[in-house]
Amino acid sequence: MNMVFQINGRDVGIEVSDSELLLDTLRHIGFSSVREGCGVGACGSCTVLVDGKSVSSCLVLTSRCNGSSILTSEGLADDDPVVSQFIKNGAAQCGYCIPGFVMMVSELLSENPIPTEQEIYNHLEGNICRCGSYPEIVQAAMDASKAKQTSKLTC
């Protein structure tokens, strides 16, 4: 089918097969931050936001996203506080899982700008970082929440 959606703010019109998965579509058109790690919704390395909500793109039909707006980590702003705090905290080892975590933290902070540590754990529990960068990731999430608060105050 022919479909149109927005990816990282740009309109994209493509033809997809009925049963194509969003993961494959996005990789195919060059968004390589979206990666397969398990194919069953259990690792989070394929996370993107569809209309602001996190999904495992390995389980989502592309055709379902007709008219939706999709955000991948490549689409975050240059000064995105989540990205900045991940960098500042050195929150990556091999880095493969990291865009997935970045997107989950982005979703969390948009829903819940000042999450508790427990709320951060609850939100990230379905993402696997085999390198074990969790301490830095959690710290980055907390710092990003703070950074967002301060930038709001100064606006």
């Binding site: 009925d18 919704g41 259990a42 996370t47 495992s56 389980l59 039909l61 529990e125 379905g126």
Partner: protein, 283 residues
């Protein structure tokens, strides 16, 4: 090889498609279907994507019911303020499913229809006395959830039927409730035992305990316990003996039968203790 996907725009059309294509499966969020497809368990099926049908993703309240459309996502159930207020047991069970991504995708209809014995939400819905609305080309029927789960991976959905709503009655008032999910391996794992408990209140007080169990038998199971005049310890005793009757666990990578029986008791006890705390002045 690759499934066909139909995209009906009306319920009528969906029902007709379902009747025409015997092998076709209703596509809710697809979180279960996609995995079955990848595992080679589903071959040659086609999907009927019901997301384009208006009105199936609504949460509404009538005087008697909370009515949830099948395409409402699990995460909306978790986060809806109204549901949290009125049916906190439901929100807390929906909140425990998988992870936020799966909950953003999976649907209330697909979750119920999936019929897996370990699913979390049905356990809470059983205690809440929910029922399922099933629509086919020629009929609409309402099945109490207690009768809905027939056997291992088998539900009461007949060929040609679509789950069109899950309804939770407003008549059952729970003075205290709790959902407990115990996993045996990593913290984020599926449950090895889950229990939902509701202390049902009527005019003269709390006389009935509603108890449902997940992952402890071939289907989610449920019973009521008469707790008139029982104190907490007596309630625990009566409920645990009822629970023992209900439990018939399946051994798997998450534990042996013996272990799950023990864990089941802990889940029940924990759920009762925490529900009990919610009741003003104990009883």
């Amino acid at each position: 090889m690759r499934p066909n996907v139909f995209r009906p725009q009306s319920l009528q059309e969906a029902c007709s498609l379902l009747e025409e294509h015997e092998e076709a499966l209703v596509y809710g969020g697809g979180t279960a279907l996609q995995i079955l497809l990848k595992q080679g368990i589903l071959v040659g099926s086609s999907f009927i994507d019901i997301s384009g049908i208006p009105g199936l993703a609504e949460i509404s309240f009538t005087d008697d019911f909370l009515r949830v459309g099948p395409m409402v996502t699990l995460r909306r159930m978790e986060r809806s303020e109204e549901i949290r207020e009125l049916f906190s047991l439901a929100s807390s069970a929906y909140a425990k499913v998988a992870n936020p991504r799966v909950r953003n995708t999976a649907t209330v209809g697909g979750n119920i229809a999936h019929g897996d014995y370990r699913l979390d939400p049905p356990v809470a819905l059983l205690v809440l006395g929910a029922s399922v609305e099933l629509t086919s080309r020629n009929s609409i029927r309402k099945v109490p959830l207690e009768e809905f789960f027939v056997d291992f991976q088998v539900t009461d959905i007949s060929a040609g039927e679509i789950v069109t709503a899950v309804e939770i009655p407003r008549s059952i008032h729970l003075a205290g409730s709790s959902f407990v999910k115990l996993s045996s391996l990593s913290a984020n794992d599926w449950p090895s035992a889950s229990a939902a408990v509701g202390l049902m209140e009527n005019d003269n007080g709390v006389h009935t305990l509603r108890l449902a169990l997940g992952a402890l038998a071939a289907t989610p199971v449920m019973a009521t316990v008469d707790i008139r005049n029982l104190n907490l310890d007596q309630t625990l005793e009566a409920s645990l003996s009822k629970a023992m009757e209900l439990m018939d666990p399946i051994a798997d990578v998450r534990g042996s039968v013996k272990y799950k029986l023990r864990l089941g008791r802990v889940a029940v006890e924990e759920a009762i203790r925490s529900a009990w705390k919610e009741v003003p002045n104990g009883r």
